[in-house]
Amino acid sequence: EAKYTIGISNTVQGNGWREEMICAMKAQALASGEVTKLNIAHRNTDAAGQLEDIRNLISAKVNAIVVNPADPAGIKSALEEATKAGIVVVAVDQAVTEPSAYIISNNQEQYAYLGAKWLFQQMGGKGDVVYMRGAAGASADSDRDKGFKKALAEFPDVKVVHEVFTGWQQDQGKQQILDFIATGSPFNGIWTSGIDNVIVDALVESQTPLVPVVGADNAGFVGQLNSVEGLVGAAVTNPGSIGGAGVTLALQILNGKKPAEQTVLVEPQLWENATEEGKAKLKGAADPSLSPEWPVSISIPDWTTYTKDQIIACKGPGE
């Protein structure tokens, strides 16, 4: 008994994580059987552009809007208008300030804290760490920075020897780490904001002694953690499938099943290859058939019901 139209708004295009998120939304909408049509606004833009997209979705009279906000505060007015128009609003991946919106999100601060803490422990609580951030000025980046700094505060002997913004771009990240390696400065660990497999590549190619690396659960990096000789590292999950969870939440609300809290946080997990237990987890998670940019955590227990084939097919209802 499909009956809902769901609007989706996303502001980063051409990034593996976001593509997976969109596919998860489509797959979940299809799997739920309750959605007639998805209306997706998916392009590279800023908060003002997202306002435009959300308003267009309101004009299209969708029943619910699932949005990955460009900025927590910047799209408040449109979300408010949506709620006023009787549309259920769910923000995924990041929180929004609009109180009427429901939020199901990866905990970015916790994401950084978890990985950084593990890394500093691996380094023996002291030494120099290379801190490779995301895009300067992005709110996810500043949330992660908070988590990283929190962990750093717990390890007074760990020093940030080098801090750069990769802009979440593989080529930049690789050149930056190679440049840094060339300076000859010693370092004991690398924390990356998701640009991870090129960093490992760079270490291997330049025959630098491997140091612990923390990255995200991207297929490429997870593969490296399993296969690269002597690499110690950890992948922190940051599932793009959160998009699917957002669709589920929206449908629950549409069906009158409101959650107890406005905000549901999906806590990240850490998969490391330093212990046998962790190795087993990593082995189980690895998925060489996925594009290296895609996170391997393609589903979230309790929140998504689609199959792997469905998310890979990336087809929504009516396609």
Partner: protein
């Protein structure tokens, strides 16, 4: 004031004139200056390994800047090179899973040729402004790539070892990528200086009407040009994926603006008719060294960008000052 016949030319002016006639020299001096600054800021960084890295990263930029140089000579610009490079890289990486690498590479270059052809016809026949034309095709290309991407999510991606060898490998400390780059560079320089086609690029960019009166068919030149530019961009994509080893949907996009900047820093006029490729290569090196310099400097990201902008401006201005014989 009375004028004695011809005064001896002061040394400063002679030096300037000398440099003006050999515009490469001041550019090289600027490059060396940047390297020296880098070495002073981080003693020991300028080593063999660093040189190899710099060259590796400068090469893809230099080839794309070659596309810009050639199109800029005709008064155009090719903003689709980033998309084309990304497309060919991504398509190759995904096709190689099911096909022979050679076949995959051929498949990957098909869209490059197509986009070049569309660009060329749009600019040469319909006279659409190159900026708009190549921007449009790059949007279209990006869209197509995204649609394509969905069909291959399940198949995964692979980098043929040969490309990885070419992109990242060193032989006796010398990047293997030079094996590809040197012939390309020689070919471009030769084309621009010693072939009829090269002459026509300059002529068309300088005065299209004059070229027409001399019997040049504009659309032929332009179509050939944009196809060549696209194919070069496609090849760059293949090399770049060998270097980065991570196919993504925006792989080479960040190179587009620097490629334009490299050509301009190298002395090519965006209004057409003036410039050359050797300067562009140095321009690409300058930009690459500059990126390193800014990575190494520990300062807030904002300050880093400000510095980057100022240095680009300063380098270009200084260079123009030097080569201008006035």
């Amino acid at each position: 004031m009375s004028i004695s016949a011809i005064q001896p030319v002061p040394f400063g002016r002679r030096l300037k004139r000398f440099m003006a006639d050999r515009p490469l020299i001041p550019l090289i001096i600027l490059l060396v200056m940047l390297v020296v600054i880098l070495q002073v800021l981080r003693p020991g960084i300028v080593n063999e390994r660093w040189l190899a890295n710099t060259v590796k990263f400068a090469i893809p930029l230099a080839i794309l800047a070659g596309c810009q140089t050639m199109t800029m000579l005709t008064g155009g610009i090719d903003l689709s090179v980033g998309t084309v490079a990304t497309m060919s890289a991504f398509i190759m990486a995904t096709q190689v899973v099911n096909h022979d690498p050679a076949v995959a590479i051929l498949i990957a270059l098909v869209p490059a040729v197509l986009i070049g052809l569309v660009n060329g016809i749009g600019v040469g026949v319909f006279r659409v402004h190159p900026l708009i034309m190549t921007l449009g095709t790059s949007l279209i290309g990006t869209g197509c790539l995204q649609v394509y991407q969905r069909t291959v999510i399940a198949s995964g991606a692979k980098i043929p070892p040969f490309l990885a060898w070419l992109g990242t490998g060193l032989t006796y400390g010398v990047p293997n990528a030079l094996l590809l780059f040197v012939p390309i560079a020689v070919l471009i320089v030769f084309t621009l200086n010693r072939t009829g086609f090269g002459r026509l690029l300059y002529a068309v960019g300088d005065n299209e009407g004059a070229a027409r009166l001399s019997g040049v068919r504009y659309w032929q030149v332009i179509t050939a040009l944009y196809v060549i530019s696209s194919v070069l961009a496609g090849i760059t994509g293949l090399l770049y994926i060998g270097l980065i080893k991570a196919p993504s949907l925006s792989l080479a996009e960040p190179l587009v603006l620097p490629s334009v900047a490299a050509a301009v820093i190298g002395g090519t006029s965006i209004f057409g008719g003036r410039g050359g490729y050797t300067g562009t290569i140095i321009g690409a090196l300058i930009l690459t060294v500059l990126t390193t310099l800014l990575t190494i400097l520990q300062m807030p990201e904002g300050a880093r960008r400000i510095l980057f902008g100022l240095i680009v401006l300063f380098v270009t201005a200084a260079y123009l000052r030097i080569i201008e014989d006035r």
